[in-house]
Amino acid sequence: MSATTALAWNRPNQQPNWLVRLFDWKPFLAFACLLPAAGLLLVFLTYPLGLGIWLAFTDTTIGRSGYWVGLENFQYLLEDPLWWNAVFYSVFYTGIATIGKFALGLWLALLLNNHLPFKSLLRAIILLPWIVPTVLSAIAFWWIYDPQFSIISFLLVEKLGLLNNNIDFLGSAWPARFSLIAANIWRGIPFVAISLLAGLQTISPSLYEAALLDGSTAWQRFRFITFPMLLPILAIVMTFSIIFTFTDFQLVYAITRGGPVNSTHLLATLAFQRGIPGGQLGEGAAIAVSMIPFLVFATLFSYFGLARRKWQQGEGND
């Protein structure tokens, strides 16, 4: 016989064990997957935030648990010229630094979007200021702004002979304010440039070709194609940038510690100084909490003002 007899074999009906069945149960699986993230958020975000807000309504100092004092801390802040000073500088710092970062970052992104030799190497180098730990670059800037050993002063005075005296970058209020803004811009450009570069690369080259045939100049192509198509990404990046800049602490604290004469205090550095070295935890917390309205406003402004565009949405809004 050449025909083979079929071997009898039935696929066994396997019962999975209880553990497998448990993980196949959707509600448990969702709970198990969410647990680590939710736990981390609770412990490291919700708890400190809640504690900070709670402290802002008490008169806690270091070493003494406080009592609920209602809005007293905030009333005090409204009369505190240093707080007003910090509010002014925080807004000024954020505003000027954001304008600088976006102007230079966009320019850099447009340059990098061209065909350049060693393109990827250049892009990697561009990211360096952002990768370096803030404190490290702050120390570098500290040297750059040093009254005696500043390299800028050295170049201008010794090498080029344009000035007679060294520049006193950090010794008085306005030069110190602008020096910090310059350092912040330097640090912030890579983030903006790389994010906007990613945005630029999503714009189809054929749009530029079509615009070229439509008779556009380079400026018109930027104005009517690049800019509006970049706007959604610009809005997101700007929101992040504003939040990071407004809440900046490291750069200012490492370079000036809020000086000279408290002229460069941001809300974050003032809050820290009042709360930790000054020991007034309640008041420090109140200063920190007072940043929240500004941040919410900035976020809503860029989100609603810039991010949502009708053309990005799908059907059904005619």
């Binding site: 189809s204 054929s206 749009l207 070709e209 079509a210 615009a211 070229l212 045939l213 439509d214 008779g215 556009s216 018109q220 009517f224 194609i225 509006p228 198509m229 565009r309 009708k310 053309w311 990005q312 949405q313 799908g314 059907e315 059904g316 809004n317 005619d318």
Partner: protein, 349 residues
């Protein structure tokens, strides 16, 4: 409107030669289709005509003017891109009016011109929509509208139908042709689809490997392909090309079969070409074994083997033969094409 002359144009990207001296003459108002397989240089040629690529050597003239060094916006051309290249953040109206907006035309002129183009294309109801809210065919029409608004000397189309589904493609094909008949603007149209080329063109330019293989009216290319490439490229299903040599009493195929030759056949043909639709079922024909039968309704395509040579046939009659059975077939003698084996050139027959 203007004529277009392409004289001995070459293009190289670095060391890679893409076009090797191309000559095309396009008369005023003519609809010319550049057709060829992927990578043959047809799109590059179109982009050079548009001014999006520079010309390595040779000359391109639009009307009396050589445009080699004229920037795209001053060439008086309009182009429809394969992906339409509609500005996604502008409404249909703004897309179509963009060139006028750049030229700072008054609003009334913009409305009048866009309105005229929208009417031609049936886009009036869509003017306030964004490209996202349009179907593929509508986007295609907007892209054409944007070109019409420009009132150009020459329309350029770069594979405009390849992103549409088969049915819409046929419909848009007819619309573009009708549009051309209405506007009578010189048109250069690039496609890889020979059916598009055959149905739309006044003149087809078949390109391959950076050379022009043949240029002429569609039916001339079909009736008298200048070489093997054009013979195989134009026509669907493709022409049967049988290798062999001239022998006693006919053409001796390598597979062993002998094909009858027309009286006028001369020269040393190495390749025997016969279109599937020019093979007939005849009682006195050559016996052939059926390999495959594909009824399409209007005709029946049969692959049959004579000796070892497979032949594709397209019969008007319904064929009931099954694979393995024998049918009797005969090429139509005066529609046989003969080619030289080495150069692939057509032999005058």
């Amino acid at each position: 409107m203007a004529s277009v002359e392409i004289r001995n144009v070459r293009k190289a990207f670095g060391p890679v030669q893409v076009l090797h001296g191309v000559n095309v003459d396009i008369a005023d108002g003519e609809f010319v289709v550049l057709v060829g397989p992927s990578g043959c240089g047809k799109s590059t040629l179109l982009r050079m005509l548009a001014g999006l690529e520079n010309i390595t050597s040779g000359e391109i003239a639009i009307g009396p003017r050589v445009v080699n060094n004229v920037p795209p916006k001053d060439r008086d051309i309009a182009m429809v891109f394969q992906n339409y290249a509609l500005y996604p953040h502008m409404t249909v109206f703004d897309n179509m009016a963009f060139s006028m907006k750049l030229a700072k035309a008054p609003r009334e002129v913009m409305e009048q011109e866009v309105g005229r183009a929208a009417k031609i294309l049936g886009l009036e109801a869509l003017l306030q929509r964004y490209p996202r809210q349009l179907s593929g065919g509508q986007r295609q029409r907007v892209a054409m509208g944007r070109a019409i608004v420009r009132n150009p000397q020459v329309f350029l189309f770069d594979e405009p139908l390849s992103n549409l589904d088969a049915k819409l493609r046929v419909q848009m094909r007819a619309e573009i042709k009708e549009l051309h008949q209405r506007l009578r603007v010189t048109t250069v149209y690039v496609t890889h689809d020979q059916i598009e080329a055959m149905t739309m063109a006044d003149k087809i330019v078949v390109m391959n490997g950076g050379h022009v293989e043949q240029a002429g009216p569609p039916l001339e290319l079909y009736d008298r392909p200048a070489n093997l490439f054009v013979a195989g490229f134009i026509g669907s299903p493709a022409m049967n090309l049988v290798k062999g040599g001239m022998g006693e009493g006919g053409f001796q195929a390598e597979g062993g079969a002998v094909f009858p030759l027309p009286q006028s056949a001369r020269g040393e043909a190495g390749i025997y070409g016969i279109r599937p639709e020019h093979i007939q079922l005849r009682e006195d024909g050559m016996p052939a074994t059926v390999v495959l039968v594909e009824p399409t309704g209007s005709e029946t395509q049969v692959i049959a083997r004579i000796g070892d040579t497979p032949l594709t046939c397209a019969f008007r009659e319904r064929v009931t033969a099954r694979p393995g059975e024998t049918i009797r077939i005969m090429p139509e003698m005066d529609l046989v094409h003969l080619f030289e084996s080495g150069s692939g050139r057509r032999l005058a027959a």
